[in-house]
Amino acid sequence: MGRAARKKGEKKEDKGEKREKRDKRPMRKKKCKFCLDRVTYLDYKDERRLRRFMTDRGKITPRRITGTCAKHQRMLASAVKRARLIALVPYVREYYR
């Protein structure tokens, strides 16, 4: 084993320790983006905004990923469903394999 390789190994160990420490601390709670903007109504015509809360396949991103609060997630869900109906956003986007 060369010196360089050992150094790399040591570094990795350090990182591992750090990660363990970090894992013990509670995850920082995500803030609901809509609450921060004080959103009272989510427009189904605002395609760009909706798309930020959808996967590229067209699914609505779950709350646990985006940190959206329950109230705004409900608004988001109905806005996305309306936007789907009038073909502003897809129901599904299939990929060719």
């Binding site: 109504y41 427009d43 189904y44 015509k45 395609e47 760009r48 309306r82 789907r84 109906l85 009038i86 073909a87 502003l88 956003v89 897809p90 129901y91």
Partner: protein, 125 residues
Amino acid sequence: MRSYECAVILYPAVTDDGLKASTAKYVDIIAGRGGAITKVETWGKRRLSYEIMHQLDGHYFFYRFRGDSPLVAELARQLRIDEGVLRHMIVRDELANGTEPALDPATVEPTLRQPEREREEEYRG
């Protein structure tokens, strides 16, 4: 009276005259049954997110109005009959406060909005 918003997608093959006739028709239906039109908007021809009746594009129109439930029922019935309509959706307009001024149905013209172009400008700015 409640405020509603009606989205209409017309076939891409509809001519300019056809679009005008269609707008006039729905404005007539709304105004003729005691409704008050507060805004008519069009997005022009736009690509659909998925095919509807083998069409890839459609002309988008949005009508915002106040009216009673029989008016909404009649509007929906007419939209279903209309062969130029690819798809339509009538939802409660939750942004309206019920005091928007009513437009004169004889002179109402759809205002053109292009969300995609606005978006590009946003990116540039």
